[in-house]
Amino acid sequence: MNQKKSKNFRHTKAFWLFVLPSLVLFTVFFLLPLGMSVYFSFTNYDGWKTMDFIGLENYTKILKDTEFYSTIGRTVVYTVVNLPFKIAIPLLLAVLVTSKHLHGRTMIRTWIYIPVLFSALVAGITINWMFGQEYGLVNFLLGKIGVEPLQWALNPVLATVVISVASNWVSAGYYMLLYVGGINNISPELYEAAEVDGATQREQFFKLTVPLLMPTTFIVLLLSTVNLLKEYALIQGISLGGPGKSTTYMVQYIFDKGFTQLKYGYASAAGVLISILFIIIALIQFRATKGGEV
């Protein structure tokens, strides 16, 4: 009995030794800011000199703010519309780069992955150069072939399309790698058996590959949802949330309130409410996909 206890203790000590570095980082960079945000949300903190406890005033103000609701609505629509692309594009790319018939697979994977290495702001500015309304490359090329320049910066739909393209461009390589790992884990014998049974390539993809990649798809779905809901730096580089407020999403809203209008307490309250919304969305995803279990 004593020996067993000792073994358990040794195991626990090792466990904590492994976990400690992550725990420290998690506490310093996640839990502490979280606690501070919750605390600020009950104050009128202006980021410097004023910090009085004001109870639930920030929360009641936010819940009466129509801009808050329209920002949430806009963010949810942006997320829902983009999610299928966040899954389909990397999945198709992964199938492509794992195909035995493709030459130069490693090089192609590298090229697709490179945008992942860019900072989101740099990627945003790069896309802005391409889609700039006055001096952008795309409108220049359209002009060269006699097509009227498109109003990327004036039309809310076009501005959202540009951000969506940029977001998918930046993230596709990362999710593709997750899918590549998933595809490589599928036993080749399953495909051989399917071929023997006369399944076409299309049937193999939809009835074998896609179902067996469900755990990976779940991860991609979860990560993309969170990233889309938090889209910020990319938008700062492309549209600054405009035209008007048409590309102002949740994090921009928080940023504007906190860092432009210096209402840190109010912004913290918005952050807390939005976090709760994130949790609800994540829980729904867990339930709907059964945690990615096949």
Binding site: S37, E134, Q151, A153, P243
Partner: protein
């Protein structure tokens, strides 16, 4: 149980990520530092071999008046200057962060930090003889919002200013207005249409994305943000005449202006449109004159008087101030620099020749050498006289301590068409009234 644990852990991570999105947002730093090395020995009694950190809103160009003055002072005294470049908008959040960490620069070139946070800056009347300064410049640029103290001294005195592309005007057959016979705003928009059609420019008219630019149209049409109400003020920004003015501005954006700029969908700068020859008329600040003189070579430009509104012409004056944070590491260097600049006639003259703007000192007047520049400067000086009483009332209320960017954002939303001019101004009026405890008139 396992599933519940998974859900709980995932939820915790999501919450933390959202919180980090908030607490980490302010970390991006647009500032950068550049050292100006000098090796000569000290010349003015001040300690030499020290480094003075100076916060500037943009990288000084080769001909920049303040940049050159700092370099000259550094050479003369044997000190060095470390530039910290942070845009005016970002200064509002970065400076408080610096102050909290006891890491403020020795000298700040600012358009309002000292007015917003007077407690953080030294009283300039204890360092310089303020009676030397132009009174309007000192009051508008140097005085704190909430107390009767001068926590900054002006180094740049600017006014709203209309630049025009002379070549485009010639091509369109349009003659520039004169001080004696200025255009009306309606005439400006009509001529902007002609310039767009015949002047070879993409846009007839462009304006900086600044409420100060838009406001000259408002004041000219008899509007104001506030009115005096006994010892207090009333919010009048959503008056019928202001709604009418904003509606006209929205229409002008649709017809003759690069709408994407004011609609807030692009990071483009209208100043670049003018410099590239894409906008025939630019409403900006007089401080751009120096840059345009140096940068524009493919066409000739000039300055024209601002148009008349329904009531009068109008102008907004402002500028940049030098302020010394009380908790600076080397305030003595900053004090020495401002004395060096303002108390020595030669130093100030050299500075003002480069600045090419109205002088901030009473006993000195900048006089351009070339005829064109002389004519332009005469118009700029005339603009300073167009400041309306309503602007002075608004300024006396120091309304910007309560709200500032929110006003510009409301105007931008109206231009973008996401809300009506009436709703935009009403929304801002309510915000301002709530923050300031002033009553709403409309």
């Amino acid at each position: 149980m396992k599933k519940m644990m998974k859900s709980a852990v995932a939820s915790l991570i999501m919450t933390a990520m959202a919180a980090v999105a908030l607490t980490g947002c302010g970390s991006s730093d647009s500032g950068k530092s550049a050292g100006v090395e000098t090796s000569s020995a000290g010349a003015s009694g001040t300690a030499s071999g020290l480094e003075m950190s100076v916060m500037l809103s943009e990288e000084p160009g080769q001909e920049d008046a303040l940049g050159n003055a700092l370099n000259d002072w550094a050479k003369e005294t044997g000190n060095t200057v470390k530039q910290i470049i942070i845009s005016n908008d970002d200064m509002l959040t970065k400076f408080p962060a610096m102050a909290k960490n006891n890491d403020v620069p020795d000298l700040v070139s600012t358009t309002g930090l000292h007015q917003l946070y007077p407690d953080e800056f030294e009283d300039m009347s204890q360092i310089l003889d303020l009676s030397k300064f132009n009174e309007s410049a000192l009051k508008i640029v140097g005085k704190a919002y909430t107390e009767d103290a001068y926590k900054g001294v002006p180094y740049q005195f600017t006014t709203t200013c209309m630049y025009y592309n002379k070549d485009a005007f010639r091509e369109a057959g349009i003659e520039a207005p004169t001080v004696d016979n200025p255009w009306t705003w309606d005439e400006l928009f009509e001529n902007a249409k002609t310039l767009k059609e015949k002047g070879g420019t993409k846009y007839g008219f462009a304006a900086d994305v600044s409420r100060a630019r838009y406001d000259i149209m408002m004041y000219a049409n008899g509007g104001s943000l506030l009115e005096k109400d006994g010892d207090s003020f009333k919010v009048t920004v959503n008056s019928p005449e202001n709604i009418e003015t904003l509606s006209k501005f929205v229409q002008a954006n649709d017809e003759v202006m690069p709408k994407a700029i004011w609609a807030g969908g692009t990071t483009d700068n209208p100043v670049e449109y003018f410099k590239n020859g894409d906008a025939a008329i630019l409403l900006s600040g007089s401080w751009n004159y120096q840059t345009f003189s140096a940068d524009i070579s493919k066409f000739s430009f000039g300055v024209m008087p601002t148009p008349k509104g329904l009531v009068s012409r109008s102008a907004i004056i402002g500028g940049g101030a030098l302020a010394i944070p009380s908790s600076a590491k080397h305030p003595e260097l900053a004090e020495d620099f401002v004395k060096w600049l303002y108390e020595n006639k030669d130093h100030y003259e050299s500075f003002a020749q480069r600045d090419k703007g109205p002088s901030v000192l009473k006993d000195y007047a900048y006089e351009p050498v070339e005829d064109d520049a002389k004519a332009d400067f005469a118009i700029i000086q005339d603009e300073v006289n167009q400041v309306t009483d309503s602007f002075m009332v608004d300024e006396s209320a120091s309304w910007r301590q309560y709200k500032d960017n929110e006003y510009r954002d409301a105007l931008k939303q109206a231009v973008a068409g996401s809300i009506t001019p009436e709703d935009a101004l009403k929304g801002f009026a309510q915000e301002l009234a709530e923050a300031s405890n002033w009553k709403m008139e409309y």
